[in-house]
């Protein structure tokens, strides 16, 4: 098996132009990000000339009250949305993988995962129209509701995948050993699920933290999140401060995504 894999890896390199295409993709994907990260440490207000190392744009970003409040909003929303979405996703996964099979189970799965495929702008417009139709004033709470909803499928996928991998014999063993339904879940299934739940939580958190399109439509006046604040700054005129915030946001994303990956790997190896 592994022998066949390595031989197919070798053959990939033999495709004509593979190297050039690969290098171009890597260049286009990562060089702009790298430039943003490097110039966030630039001492002068330029994105083309290097004027020495400095942390002053970071200091400036941290002391900007607009950025401060936007960061706070983003964190509150991301934590709340991820928490609620993870709870809902765990319950959904329980129902889908642990309960008796039911009619329309495939349909339910589609309903849970379709939001991943709907163009985000459509979801955004639909959410806005919905909030206006039921007479909600836009604000942080509308952002929170929208985020919670679109985070559910992201949290659901790793959780359900793991839960499917846990044999029903574990639930049965717990019940056989005098645990009722709640204690079987609490002492057996939940600890076995923890890595996947953390992984799903972090994925939901980062999706919420990064979201721009839906947030920009359902945000009310004064309820600004970090991506909205960055966009606002860019429109006023480019400043290396934006590089600094973007770099930080990138760092947080990378930490969460890697942690999510590592945690789910630990879960699988157990």
């Amino acid at each position: 098996m592994s022998g066949r894999e390595s031989s197919s890896q070798k053959s990939l390199r033999r495709y004509p132009g593979f190297r050039a295409v690969a290098l171009m993709c890597l260049f286009l994907l990562y060089v702009p990000i790298l430039v943003v990260a490097i110039y966030s440490f630039n001492d002068i207000r330029s994105i083309t000339t290097w004027g020495g190392f400095s942390l002053k744009w970071y200091a400036k970003a941290f002391s900007n009250p607009q950025i401060q409040s936007a960061t706070w909003n983003s964190l509150v929303i991301a934590v709340s949305a991820a928490t609620i979405a993870t709870c809902v996703a765990t319950a959904a996964a329980m129902g889908m993988t642990r309960g008796r099979r039911f009619r329309g189970q495939g349909g339910v799965f589609a309903v849970i995962s379709i939001p991943l495929m709907i163009p985000e702008i459509v979801t955004a417009v639909a959410s806005l129209a919905f909030f206006l139709a039921i007479g909600f004033t836009l604000g942080l709470h509308t952002i929170l509701i929208a985020h919670t909803v679109f985070c559910i499928p992201f949290a659901y996928l790793p959780i359900a995948a793991r839960m499917q991998g846990i044999e029903k014999a574990f639930d049965e063993a717990a019940k056989d050993l005098y645990a009722g339904r709640w204690r079987a879940f609490r002492y057996v299934l939940l600890p076995m699920m923890t890595p996947a739940i953390i992984s799903g939580y972090m994925l939901a958190f980062i999706i919420s933290l990064d979201d721009f399109i839906i947030t920009s439509l359902v945000a009310g006046p004064g309820s600004t999140t970090l991506p909205l604040a960055i966009y606002g700054l860019v429109r006023v005129g480019f400043s290396p401060e934006i590089n600094a915030i973007s770099t930080l946001l990138l760092l947080v994303s990378m930490i969460f995504v890697s942690a999510s990956y590592l945690v789910s790997r630990i879960g699988r190896s157990n």
């Binding site: 717990a174 056989d176 005098y178």
Partner: protein
């Protein structure tokens, strides 16, 4: 009520299991009746899909009972969920909790039953000593070998002192040597613990070596219930004879009955005296015999009372040699002759020889 030797531990009365409903309904068990005695090592034996695991899961409470009654020491189990039944299970893949140590696994049932710390610890130690794993108490299941995991599963199921232990093919994941050692160990533990065991397996050798009694199942019905000897020596029908051990099942014509024996005619015209299982066909009809290969032997061709046959091929299988032979009419039989040290095989392919049956070797079966 005293728990005497012949007291009934488990009563299974007219149990029916139907999966699904309407047109897609599938009957997995057709009216099973069984009484399992106190302290018995009882085995449900049958090929996969015969319903043995379904029956076990119904006793454990994981499957509902469509019709009929299952009771444990006179108490109807129908309405109790699995966690309220004084019954524990050793699962096929053990289902040890991977996030807990061996000791915590064994303690789980006691903790859920609400036993105190000290009592639980003492019982866990006792159980781990019983299965000789006291040194491994703080290990994780993943750090143990298959045989050790199997013993943890057993200790975990025995720790809460169930009235009945269910074992769902617990040895099937082990290699041959370990499986043979575990058979003896299981039997010993059952005797020491004084608990009724219901053991499910498709391995007839496992069943024969460990069980006090065996129920042979096929297609959702009981075929025969009896001890190892009954099942092997006196199979009631073709299925049991064929499933347990190796046997020849030649078709015969039943000539006549003489007392509790029958005289049957083989395809080549030779007549045999056979014992008769209940429900065998009437005189003049056709039926099947069971003749175990090791109850057949060779003698010189044409000798008084032997059946003339020709050897087609020989297979040396260590303890004995297996001969495929055919009779005058072409019907085929298998003969096993024990090997003796240092001797050349006395018969070889192409030889014409006489076939001899040990007394009581042939049994007329019901279909």
């Amino acid at each position: 009520m005293s728990e005497g030797e012949n007291e009934i531990a488990v009563h299974i009365g007219d149990v029916v299991k139907v999966y699904g409903s309407g047109d897609s309904a599938h009957t997995a068990l057709h009216g099973i009746n069984l009484d399992i005695r106190h302290n018995e090592f009882f085995t449900l034996l049958g090929p996969s899909g015969c319903g043995k695991t379904t029956l076990l899961r119904m006793i454990a409470g994981f499957e509902s009972v469509t019709e009929g009654e299952i009771s444990l020491y006179g108490q109807n189990l129908a309405t109790s969920p699995p966690n309220r039944r004084p019954v524990n299970t050793v699962f096929q893949q053990y289902a040890l909790f991977p996030h807990m140590t061996v000791a915590k696994n064994v303690a789980f049932g006691l903790k859920m039953k609400g036993h105190g710390e000290a009592e639980t610890r003492a019982r866990v130690d006792e159980m781990l000593r019983l299965v000789q794993l006291d040194r491994f108490a703080e290990r994780r299941p993943s750090q143990l070998s298959g045989g050790q995991q199997q013993r943890v599963a057993l200790a975990r199921a025995l720790a809460p002192s169930p009235k009945l232990l269910l074992l769902d093919e617990p040895l099937s994941a082990l290699d041959l040597k370990l499986r043979q050692a575990m058979r003896l160990e299981l039997k010993q533990i059952q005797r020491d613990a004084g608990i009724t065991f219901i053991f499910v397996t498709h391995d007839q050798e496992e069943a024969l070596t460990m069980s006090d009694r065996i129920a042979v199942m096929s297609e959702g019905a009981l075929q025969q219930v009896g001890d190892s000897r009954d099942i092997y020596e006196a199979p009631v029908n073709r299925f049991v004879a064929d499933f347990i051990g190796e046997t020849n099942l030649p078709e015969v014509v039943i000539e006549r009955y003489e007392g509790d024996h029958a005289v049957c005619r083989l395809g080549d015209g030779s007549e045999l005296h056979c014992s008769v299982s209940e429900g065998a066909a009437a005189a003049g009809e056709r039926g099947h015999l069971s003749i175990r290969p090791e109850r057949l032997s060779f003698t010189a061709a044409g000798e008084e009372g032997s059946i003339r046959c020709v050897i087609d091929r020989t297979i040396y299988v260590g303890t004995d040699t297996q001969y495929a032979v055919h009779l005058g009419d072409g019907s085929e039989l298998v003969v096993r002759v024990q090997n003796e040290a240092g001797e050349e095989l006395p018969w070889s392919a192409g030889d014409e020889v006489g076939l001899r049956l040990a007394t009581g070797a042939a049994r007329l079966l019901s279909d």
